[in-house]
Amino acid sequence: MKAEAHLEVYRPFQGQLRQHPRAPIALWRAGLRTAFRRRLALMILLAPPVIGTVIFSFVVYTGYALQEGTTPEALGGSSLLGQMAGSMMRDHAAKALDVKNQIALFHLSMSAFSLLLVAWYGAGLIADDKREGAHLLLFARPLSRTGYLMGRFLTVATFGAFGAIVPTLVVCTIATFASPEWSFIRLEGMVIVKAVLYGLAWVVAMSSLVLAISSLATRKAFALAGTIGLVFGLAATGGVLTGLLKVRAWNALGPHMAWAQIANNVFEVEEPSRRSWDMSWNYISVASLFVASWIVLVWSVRRMEAVK
């Protein structure tokens, strides 16, 4: 039985403190631990990228299977209808074979889900720290502002990678093993590099945006709404300006449109001229948002350390 005024013995620490603690890693692990504790949300948010990965992997696999000489009859059966279907599939195979196309299409169709994944896990990271006063505990440690930012950034970027990099790598892996005599690696190996670089760029830009909004918000819900609102608001503004000024480049104001155009450019997907505009506007739009995000982040975190 424990005495009412029980005091455990205090044990002094005998070891050494590390001079340069790996603060970002500690924060990143803590962020992931928190996120993985909410399993239902994680399953719901990861479901679209997982389903997308399965579908696009299957398409790529089917494309290579057709290239390897699978006949329309084998694909569609011996009936007239089956032969027609098989014939259509083979006609379509040329396009389906193009892994670049699939990856660009994946980004186009999945970017909203990936953004939701990043926003859900990133929106609360800084806002909740401020709301709960955790920044007082964190900055009372030998933790630099850069270390704090990196820790939080790594957390949100990890979820961004689940949505934008891992699926494309899976598709590329399927393509590698499904292609005859490793032709995908030999002939289109650069696609993997491009997929990773494009995914990284998207993750870095979107994670920065979400964190910047989180640093301005007082709670996660506001940051989440702010992120979605900003992305769709910019897209709507771009659309309206395009309509009013008859200049298509205004569409680049919307991050979704800008990234879609960049994906088409990077993966060399042909775009109808009526839906495209000068690429430089897309890069300017994305870069501006990125720079603005980091200006906000640095300013906000500076204010967090210099507690009022």
Binding site: E4, A5, H6, L7, E8, V9, Y10, R11, P12, F13, G15, L17, R18, Q19, P21, R22, A23, A26, L27, R29, A30, R33, T34, A35, R37, G124, D128, D129, E132, G133, A134, L136, L137, L138, F139, A140, R141, P142, L143, S144, E305, A306, V307, K308
Partner: protein, 317 residues
Amino acid sequence: MTKAVLEFDALTKTYGKVRALEGLTLALEPGPTGLLGPNGAGKTTLLKLCLGLIAPTSGSARIAGHDPATAAGRARLRRAIGYMPEGDCLVPGLTGVETVGMLGRLSGLEPRDAMTRAHEVLDYVGIDEARYREVVGWSTGMKQRLKLAQALVHDPPLLLLDEPTDGLDPTGRRHMLELVHDLGHAQKKSLLLCSHLLPDVEATCDAVVVLSRGRVAASGQIVDLVGGSRPRVRFEAIGDAARLETEFAASGIVHERLENGSWSLTLGASESGAEIDADAALAAASRAGARVVAIEPERATLQQAFLRALDEAEAVG
């Protein structure tokens, strides 16, 4: 002379036109020290300056031998300081042991050491199985103890405790005061305890600093501050109060009539140089024909010393 653990030299901090600290010059020796002052006296500002969380407008400080004005100094001093902030400061989504472990890692502990230390300090503050639950939903008492645990996880020599008993019930408060007393005395930690509750400071600290309007109104050992003035006794007698007062005055005894009818007498050397003791008071009562009922030492409390220091600061400022 013992090396000061906290040194401030002409430290000034202003927020716009408001002067939170004004030319604060102070050296605190190791050991438990209370930081007192009315609201807006600059206590929290001083704590944040100690941590390097805010920069002074002018002046300098050395905290545990480190300069908070430089990034390297801040990193070193934060390794030497355990800070327990006021209010609910919690890392969202983590359990108690994860919170303390993570903050230990941020302080420079190796991952394995951080987890071991987290359990040790949680044992010390008396948080049992609850440490494996998320902190959200914990009682105020448990949150306060968790904040103390995270301040101790890297075993710093200096602790800054901001209102550690804030919001605690009597049992929790007693437990917290026992912990703070143990840390300050048995564990020989230097600690700066910021509190509005003067009995808490009196129960746990040896020295005290009283701030008023950003300046030091009084500082020193509590024993000296409380008993610094001449000894006083409470004197109770039945008889003619007017005659008694006349006799006291004739004997050179500084006296004060209390609300309950008794007297507060100041003993020791009088202004004329004569030594006044209890016998002199008894003789005066005898001459006045009064019957003495009680005579007992009147111990000044820290509250009296605190209020006196504030009054003096008010009069000067």
